[in-house]
Point group: C2
Chain length 366, copies 2
């Protein structure tokens, strides 16, 4: 995989596509962030991408993200300067300027919004992230496993409301920030996990933007060649084509700041006569057969692709009759540690399944 | 009424008693704050009380309070330094030290906790408040009517969590802070409405601590003389003895950070054969006959007194069989303005009644 060294206007299409893929159905639709980033890049020029290991030890890295339910994010467009306001507020609390912007997650809206912010602020963006995918809660990052505090954290909304918090642990940050996003109308812009370059080197996942870009490139190339990208993604990313079918039911509700629900898929082609059920909480978290046997579970990635175009489908886009491929991908090895599974394993989300790596699960025929 | 010029250890008993009365059933039991204040005064000496009109125009006045459901406050004792932490955090945001502490409400816990804080910080306390009673929401203060922002506002809890907010209006401050108190376990300590002496002179209600102390004094004197205080309070405060009876039903639930419910009272003596229903949301807000005719409504004060001792009873203390006097008192004239009634009139709380001053309502026989 080639390392990105800058993000141009033209790159944003691939970044948004790859970001939607690693969004695993959540993370918000990258499209809004793509538009914001394209506009910012048109004004300010390409955004330099900096390798994690090239960071100065004492550089200040500030991750920025949109927090809330993706269903709301679709309807509540950021005004554009809330994210910058959140970063500026965090800089004021920390007492110094950021040297680079960071993506808290490598998926969805939060893989594109930070690029817009970096461009607007004239800062580089780090080629890394805290999840290697999207997750629904803010403590679910590799930084938590490294003992880095999410606080001080700042939040800003489109009306001009601003909140700063210092909590005793990252789970408390999530709980406090989550209820605030609900009061902000369902979503807010946040800056958090301020960290030094030295901390970042010890804590974050590498190469995330390069990976996102490469994935977007593959999807676009295969689309141009009228091929579904699933086979090529499977071979290049060590992924698994889990299921092929038609969505016959979607049960979706927005509660407590999350979009939760299930989708039922009727098998097509080689999966004819079978069913798969997807469970999601912003992101797809469990793929199981209709008798409840897991085919893939969090923290491994479950992605939904359009059967014709290969374009990733988010949980809020899903509708009756969609013909889809369910695609699985092993997560970053950090998530398979005991601490990692405590943070993002199936049990944390209330599912009964014990985590088994996708490569072991998918060995068994569905 | 004599103006207090300091609050001694001995004064705290009267302050707590008068605070419970003006708490109109809510504001939290003043007892915890009384203990905290007594302990602080024993260590640091009496707390100077400063007249609103004696404040320097450029003095910084910081109100401090406990926010949350009184039912929770009873079980979740403040550790003692959270309120000081909230004030210190607000001082840091404002960029200067407080010159005086202020009571946001003249009732319950929030008429005693600020005295403990003032003593601990070696600051005077202002002889005024923002309500002239207790109300359940933080925008319900005379400062809101004068256009003073509740923000910057700081919050602290017993675990060490800290939140700072800057919202676009005081109703938003209430909404944001309310959900945070729920995440803090039901209650948190807050510092807000930082204002100058000049602003305070234009915005706040006068003589509140002197009034509280005088009321406590009357209750204690009458108690010592084996008389119920209701008659003397009625004549000295221009109040109304609304009803006398026995509590036969209490419906109480804690939802959304509030203690809400109703109490039904069966008439005794001259009220024999009649019933009165009290509605509360932390504080008593509506007193009505059993056919729904209002006898007193917010913003006028509705206080519940023990029939034997005259001691005020809070909404969370009420129990089946309590023999009580329902006592009404006209509110500060500021609340009877259009803006005042928008903030705290019956309609704001979801009651159908149009506000009619208590002195007009109580003229009609029950």
């Amino acid at each position: 995989m080639i390392s990105l060294n800058q993000i141009t206007h033209a790159d944003m299409a691939h970044v948004a596509l790859g970001g939607a893929f690693l969004g695993t159905g959540g993370g918000g639709d990258p499209y809004i962030g793509k538009l914001m980033a394209e506009q910012a890049i048109a004004q300010n020029g390409p955004v330099p991408v900096i390798d994690v290991d090239a960071l100065d030890d004492d550089a200040l890295i500030i991750p920025v993200a949109m927090m809330g339910a993706p269903t709301v994010m679709l309807e509540k467009l950021p005004r554009g300067d809330e994210a910058v306001a959140a970063v500026r507020a965090l800089e004021a609390v920390v007492g110094r300027k950021a040297d680079a912007i960071f993506c808290i997650e490598a998926g969805g809206l939060n893989s594109t919004i930070p690029i817009a912010v970096a461009s607007t602020l004239g800062l580089p963006i780090v080629d890394g992230d805290g999840m290697g995918r999207a997750f629904p809660e803010l403590q679910m990052v590799s930084m938590t496993m490294s003992g880095i505090s999410a606080c001080p954290m700042t939040m800003a909304d489109d009306k001009g409301n601003a909140v700063t918090m210092n909590t005793v642990d990252n789970l408390s940050t999530e709980k406090f920030a989550r209820v605030i996003t609900v009061e902000m109308g369902g979503a807010g812009l946040i800056a958090l996990y301020p960290m030094t370059g030295k901390q970042a080197k010890a804590a974050v996942l590498r190469g995330s933007l390069s990976l996102i870009h490469a994935i977007g490139n593959i999807i676009a190339q295969e689309q141009a060649a009228n091929r579904n990208c699933a086979d090529r993604l499977a071979s290049e990313l060590n992924g698994v084509r889990l299921f092929e079918g038609r969505i016959v039911d979607v049960d979706r509700r927005t509660t407590g700041g999350f979009a939760r629900g299930t989708a039922l898929i009727d098998g097509l082609e080689s999966n004819h006569g079978m069913k798969m059920k997807l469970h999601f909480q912003n992101e797809f978290l469990v793929a199981e057969t209709d008798d409840g046997r897991p085919m893939a579970t969090t923290p491994d990635l479950i992605c939904l692709l359009d059967l014709e175009t290969g374009v990733p489908i988010t949980t809020e886009q899903m509708g009756y009759g969609f013909r889809v491929i369910v695609f699985g991908l092993p997560c970053d090895p950090k998530w398979r540690s005991e601490h990692g599974l405590d943070l993002v394993g199936p049990k944390y989300f209330g599912y009964e399944h014990t985590y088994v790596p996708i490569e072991d699960l998918s060995g068994s025929a569905i």
